[in-house]
Amino acid sequence: MNTEESRLGSVPAAGKKPSSVIVARDVWKSFDHGQTPVIQGVSLEIGRAEMVALWGSSGSGKSTLLHLLSGLDRPDRGEITILGLDPSREETRLRLCRRHVGFVFQLHNLIPDLTMLENLRIPCFSERRPAREIDARARYLAEKVGLSHRLTSRIQNLSGGERQRTAICRALMNRPEVIFADEPTGSLDERTADVVFNLFLRLVSEEGASVILATHDQRFTKGCHRSLHIHQGKALPL
């Protein structure tokens, strides 16, 4: 990866897609004006369709690293590129969010008084795509997670598992190349969590997206290709 090119945020030439979807080089991040160092010199690369778990205890900095890698937050030092683009520029970040990356959080973060279908349309809001195509995609994903019959239900009438499955569908609406998942089943009971997590992995691999999963639960790291242990500000292979 040419760092000069990525600093300029240029688009990789067609046909020469980078093999790594995410590249981080010596990334540092602290809070409270340096009083709370959290990420201290993390370098990593994540390949196409690769699933990587960031595993660590609570407070170890998984979410912080995930936010940095996805462009939601900016590092104090170091470089990050997503698909060869520099996400620290707001325009680029927007473009990435609209087309190339998807997010699943611990809380579903759906809009409770909209229906499942309406929630699924939200990531497509700024893309000029025909409504019929958007709804077809929503229907396809809903069917994949077994919620076809819930499309017109309001979120407030769905169960916890159903909500989280809806959140997974929302992340996949724009056929993103990368999914960032922060404890995606952390709010569910164990049995439901297993079901939803397996569904998530299956769907994402079908879609061919890379996954960066933050979790404190080692059960979930097994399903991934690779795990990094987040400890004392570093990311070390497990």
Partner: protein, 370 residues
């Protein structure tokens, strides 16, 4: 996904808060509309008293209130003889009290004053005006609140007068007043050979400027103003106008702050949701648009309801017999539209900071507390 729908869900989610905000804006719009209409109406009525067919109002220079103005009969006589002048109608204005009525406006006019001819005489007639001894003539509303009719003797101030007739004029102030023959008014108010002011009609084709120059040269203590000049420069009208504007601006400031407060609350309660929208690809501008849109819809609703309510109140006021004359609101479309537009602008100005705040929400920060 529909932008409007995203705005509406939030309005619906907090129905009561939305309703209160819209109602606040509505009250502001309604009161603004009422105040301005009533002031404009009052000014309009006052102007009517002064100008019948005349083009000029002649009064004492540098008086703040026409009640204090004084024009001498000898001056008027001389002006009548100006070749430019067709007619001069003196008017003596005074205020007296009677036992149950603290304010009775009195107009002293000559018998040939055109307004007497133009009035509709309910009792008596214009031809009798000034011919009967100690007779006065009541505006229709004055007759009703003084409970007097033709032929009766009534107390006005310290004296008793005979009611010589009852007339209905086109003007609210006049209708609530009492007409005296000029000489009787002069005697009653101890202003012998004086009038408060005079209205002047020029001969056809006469130069307005020439007339004003002539007055300036011959009577430096008087001033002749064209009707519309007078309306602009008369200090009482100016005070009324400034007051109504000041009240209006205050009510708009209050309205704007109300909107600012509501929208800030709305944003604070939705930080997380806004962060998710940002994560889903909403730009800062789109987020700001949601907030401004919500404010615009609330204030639009408020201003429509307020304007309709205010307009209805004004129509009711104009129809109420008790207020006839004192309140004759100007029902003007341009005013209605103006108030609606200003209300909307104020609300959007009030939503500006909340919208800015919303657009600066950092997704990583907002999504952190789980």
């Amino acid at each position: 996904m529909d932008f409007l729908k995203l705005i509406f869900i939030n309005i619906r989610r907090h129905r009561l808060r939305s309703l209160i905000t819209a109602a606040g804006i509505g009250f502001g719009a309604a009161s603004m509309l009422c105040i301005v209409s009533i002031v404009l109406g009052a000014v309009g009525m006052f102007q009517n008293i002064l100008s019948t067919e005349s083009q000029f109002i002649l009064f004492e220079r540098n008086v703040s209130d026409l009640f204090f103005s004084s024009v001498r009969a000898s001056q008027l006589e001389e002006i009548r003889n100006f070749p430019l002048v067709k007619r001069v109608d003196p008017l003596l204005v005074g205020i007296v009290s009677s036992p149950n009525h603290p304010i009775i406006t009195c107009f002293g006019v000559e018998a040939d004053n055109p307004r007497l001819r133009q009035a509709h005489w309910l009792h008596g007639s214009a031809t009798a005006f000034g011919r009967e001894k100690d007779a006065i003539y009541l505006g229709e509303r004055a007759a009703s609140f003084l409970k007097a009719t033709i032929g009766q003797e009534i107390p006005i101030g310290s004296r008793r007068f005979l009611v010589g007739g009852v007339l209905r004029t086109a003007n609210g102030f006049e209708d609530g007043g009492v007409f005296f023959p000029l000489s009787l008014a002069q005697e009653f108010f101890h202003k012998e050979s004086q009038a408060s002011l005079a209205t002047v009609e020029l001969r056809p084709g006469a130069s307005f400027v020439a007339f004003q120059k002539q007055i300036d040269a011959r009577f430096p203590d008087l001033i002749a103003l064209e009707d519309k000049e007078f309306n602009r420069s008369y200090s009482q009208f100016r005070i009324l106008n400034v007051t109504s504007w000041a009240i209006g601006i205050c009510s708009f400031l209050l309205g704007g702050m109300g909107v600012a407060n509501t929208m800030l609350m709305s944003v604070f309660a939705r930080v997380r949701e806004i962060a998710v929208l940002r994560v889903c690809g909403f730009s800062r501008q789109q987020v700001a648009g949601l907030i401004l849109g919500e404010a615009a819809i609330l204030s639009g609703l408020g201003s429509v309801v307020g304007c309709v309510a205010g307009f209805a109140a004004l129509v009711a006021m104009n129809a109420a017999p008790q207020l006839q004359g004192y309140v004759r609101a100007a029902l003007r479309m341009d005013l209605l539209v103006g108030v609606a537009v200003v209300t909307l602008a104020t609300a959007i100005a009030g939503a500006f900071y909340p919208a800015y705040f919303a657009s600066r929400i950092a997704p990583a920060e907002a999504l952190r507390f789980e």
